[in-house]
């Protein structure tokens, strides 16, 4: 019976208490096209204040301001690229989930490629070495040691 109670308590603990959904202010959209682009864009930019939340998911003051800004720019007829540039000019790489390729971000973009090449090189050179060796590379001394280790109870 106690076990059952305990289990019940555990189940209760997993029930989410009030989901965390930031209150996104209601916006008046001139048309559905703008609305769709608005929701795409606010999902695409990172909130500058909170680390790694997009503009759509953030309650921060600045995220609200940037959502307003994006809507204003959309209504002014700016393209997505123009809006990105507008925000980039003010907030830099921080606001983009895919930072632009600049000297500062070379390591970020090219690092994985470099690691891949390094891995390929190690892999190939190991394979090459294995092919060259004729299987039995242990000296007599090492052979005896292996034997001794294997025979140990």
């Amino acid at each position: 019976m106690r076990v059952l109670k305990l289990l019940g308590l555990l189940v209760l603990l997993t029930v989410p208490v009030g989901q965390v959904i930031p209150a996104i202010e209601a916006q008046a959209f001139p048309n559905d096209g703008v609305k769709a682009r608005y929701y795409d864009l606010i999902a695409e930019f990172r909130c500058p204040q909170c680390l790694n939340t997009n503009l759509a998911g953030s309650d921060a003051m600045i995220a609200q301001d940037l959502r307003k800004t994006i809507l204003r720019l959309l209504i002014e007829g700016k393209t997505d690229a123009e809006i990105e540039t507008y925000l980039y000019d003010r907030y830099g790489d921080f606001i983009l989930y895919e930072p632009r390729l600049t000297p500062r971000t070379w390591l970020l973009w090219l690092g994985p490629l470099g690691l891949g090449i390094l891995g390929l090189w190690i892999w190939l050179s190991l394979g090459w070495k294995r092919k060259r060796s004729d299987g039995n590379t242990l000296s007599e001394d090492e052979q005896r040691r292996v034997q001794r280790l294997l025979e140990r109870p």
Binding site: P48, Q49, L51, A60, M61, I62, Q64, D65, L66, K68, T69, Y88, D89, R90, Y91, G92, D93, F94
Partner: protein, 179 residues
């Protein structure tokens, strides 16, 4: 040769620890990119806090190196730095311009009446448009501008005496003399 290959994972691990360790210790998440430094103040036309009927434009910032302080009464850190700003103004004679950010102007005026107003004037940025143009992340932020209204430095967070002495004051002196 066998010994060398044993060292490879160890070296790789050491490099990984080194890189991650550096990343964790060197990067301060408050050290955000200051995109607007060395650019002119963005143009704006916003009401003054004390004379709501009159508009302030970027031209009002020309003539003297100054601190632009983005603040609000909803921001506890802004309230915490108020005394230091008052000291900087009264003891160092620095011109401080306030950007009252997304605040209730009445609450802002009440706060200043109670605790004193060391600012030359306050720009009411009720919609956060100037803040976005300045690339503000959150209040408080303090910019150093030179006498021609060019942004020279941005400080994120509370201005303490140490921040002022070490970072802001040397720049204010430098850009006062340069112009």
């Amino acid at each position: 040769m066998a010994k060398q290959s044993v060292l490879i994972p160890l070296c790789a691990f050491a490099i990984l620890v080194g890189v991650l360790g550096l990343g964790f210790t060197l990067s301060d998440h408050n050290d955000l990119p200051a995109q607007r430094v060395d650019e002119s103040m963005p143009s704006f036309s916003l009401p003054s806090l004390w004379q709501p009927e009159s508009q302030i434009t970027a031209a009002a910032l020309d003539g003297e190196a100054a601190l632009i302080n983005v603040w609000a009464t909803w921001c506890p850190s802004c309230i915490a730095e108020h005394a230091e700003l008052a000291r900087i103004h009264s003891e160092e004679g620095v011109r401080i311009v306030g950007v009252n950010y997304n605040d209730d102007p009445e609450a802002a005026r009440a706060f200043l009446r109670k605790w004193g107003d060391p600012y030359a004037f306050h720009i009411v940025d009720a919609e956060g448009t100037l803040a976005v143009d300045l690339g503000v992340y959150g209040a408080p932020e303090t910019f150093v501008i030179d006498s021609r209204g060019v942004i020279r430095y941005r400080h994120v967070g509370v201005v303490t005496e140490r921040v002022f002495e070490e970072k802001l004051k040397p720049l204010l002196v430098q850009f006062q003399e340069a112009s």
